[in-house]
Symmetry: C2
Subunit: 336 residues, 2 copies
């Protein structure tokens, strides 16, 4: 049976293998330092569709299709898919998955969705409830901007703390049997809200949630940042990454040089003028399902702690004066 470590963390009874993984990105992702790790890059922000929302669905279709292809699987080989996105009512996912005929559990974890889908998916496989399943999410700069902030054609000026929502999708296929990197433990996050109200400063809003989940994970597993070759949060960007390091420093814990953030990795922040870095569900998803898992397969890292964060606000909650509740889900991925 499962080895429950405290309330939030499960050490899986057997590793859940990542049978394949695929990342899809847009123009800016293709101009960044991780370009070579993408399975598909498209310079057309519409991905051949008529609207950006349909483009986001097209990215999910492409990511799932590529991941299935790389694993030598068909849609019918998946028992479930767990997925979600940032759009109102998660339409990137529902329209992206509509034609696949795969039993579907829809998730909403904002930009933590890749962590949430990997966590729940690993538990379903580990529990014997699925042989193989998919975990996926996406984001699109143009759909996110017009929904959360301003329509892109307005050309609104961006604050220094603003991050750039990745136009990207990532998909991982999990399975009971296999080889290569595998999920070995998961930690479910709690909602944390420290009162940040600036929707242009997601890093500051989400950093306390990352600190909360990572602290719970370290305590439950008796590990620290040094026990991982890489600790990587999802899309905190430059400011949020620093805040997490500062919060741990106050506890006497040095996060050290192995702590990074997908929001710092996806773009060449200075030269691509990305302000505080990348964000969006697709940021953590594509960095994991391209670069991170790819480098693990090459042997660069043996054990990583992947902890994407999500900001659970909406434009309506912001207009009603609310602060930004956030969450972070963490999974341990090891070469086994």
């Amino acid at each position: 049976m499962a080895n429950r470590l405290g309330r939030q963390t499960v050490a899986l009874p057997a590793p859940v293998h990542i049978l394949s993984h695929a990342a899809v990105g847009g123009k800016h992702e293709g101009e960044g330092p991780l370009a070579d790790w993408f399975d598909q890059l498209c310079t057309d922000s519409f991905f051949g569709e008529k609207t950006w929302e349909k483009a986001e669905s097209a990215m999910q279709k492409a990511a799932l299709g590529k991941a299935l292809e790389k694993a030598g699987l068909k849609p019918d080989d998946l028992d479930y898919i767990l997925a979600g996105d940032l759009l109102n009512q998660c339409i990137g996912t529902s329209f992206g998955l509509r034609d696949f005929g795969i039993p579907f559990y829809g998730l909403y974890g904002a930009c933590s969705t890749m962590g949430e889908s990997l966590a729940l998916g690993s538990l379903l496989v580990a529990g014997g409830f699925a042989e193989r399943l998919g975990a996926m999410t996406s984001s699109h700069f143009c759909t996110a901007e017009r929904q959360y902030r301003m329509p892109v054609p307005y050309g609104s000026q961006r604050t220094p703390t603003a991050q750039w929502t990745a136009t990207a999708a990532g998909c991982a296929i999990l399975g009971r049997e296999g080889s290569g990197p595998a999920v070995t433990a998961v930690t479910c996050g709690k909602i944390v809200d420290k009162g940040i109200t600036d929707a242009n400063n997601m890093g500051a809003a989400m950093a306390p949630a990352a600190y909360d989940t990572l602290s719970a994970h370290f305590a439950a597993t008796g590990t620290g940042p040094r026990d991982y070759d890489l600790v990587v949060t999802g899309d905190l960007g430059a400011l949020g990454h620093q805040i997490v390091a500062d919060l741990f420093a106050r506890d006497g814990v040095d996060m050290g040089g192995n702590y990074t953030d997908c929001g710092l990795l996806l773009y060449d922040i200075q030269n691509q003028d990305m302000h505080a870095g990348a964000s969006g569900c697709g940021c953590a998803a594509s960095v994991l399902c391209g670069y991170l898992l790819g480098e693990m397969e090459r042997g660069r890292w043996r054990r990583i702690l992947f902890a994407p964060t999500g900001a659970l606000l909406s434009p309506t909650s912001t207009c009603q004066g609310e602060s930004i509740p956030s969450i972070c889900h963490a999974v341990v991925i090891e070469s086994v």
Copy 2:
């Protein structure tokens, strides 16, 4: 280990008990035939808050609080809560749960969310990953109308196929140890889209998803409608309920008098002028967590098949000419 019946259905290795359940409703719910089954009714559509969105969060707080109280539990006694709602970015849930400090997996299944949360929650408990957890969802007439259709103060005329979004929330506490009604099997739905584009006719859009999931469930378990004391879909209303019966009739299956729909139960449809019936996440959730589980405890039914449906559209997808993808998740609840 789990007994997987085909691809979508799991017969749980041990029953997952419903330790307690609570339903919260608004004015119309309190004027309907199920009024006595609610734990809390509030005639103020704002539930003492300043906005309807905050009112929806207040309903979730109340439903969770009542369910915990009835089980003699504190928030710290729950390992997880699985919840979601209809609002953009599920803010009813994130703000409702913010102060409880319970590890949280956010779901988006539209009006199928009570089924999805019970299904995933039961699997987590059955897998040994949780001792106790909460499954919850909500909807609010005024938040849903202004988001999906028109602001309520416009007084727009409603079509005959329109349903009335319930102002209600339901919460069930699941646990490994206990007595009373228990979840014994779950069937995960696929996305089904038969091309319905009328956002005022959700029953027709969702009925094929209910038919798909119920058919899969019957086939996997070797059961039929006669094997359940009650088969109850979520919020198909009068039209959708009839379509499901018709679709089964074409297969030679008589759904019979034990097949009903929460959308037909919540209100006195004729006298309350509810057109095709009730809808919304809160419809299935409150009917289950009040009336259905209450009557099971009294011994009226021993075995029910609860199958709420969700329409995975958004106003944006409708404006972009898309049809309405739908889903249905089913759980078997038995007195054990």
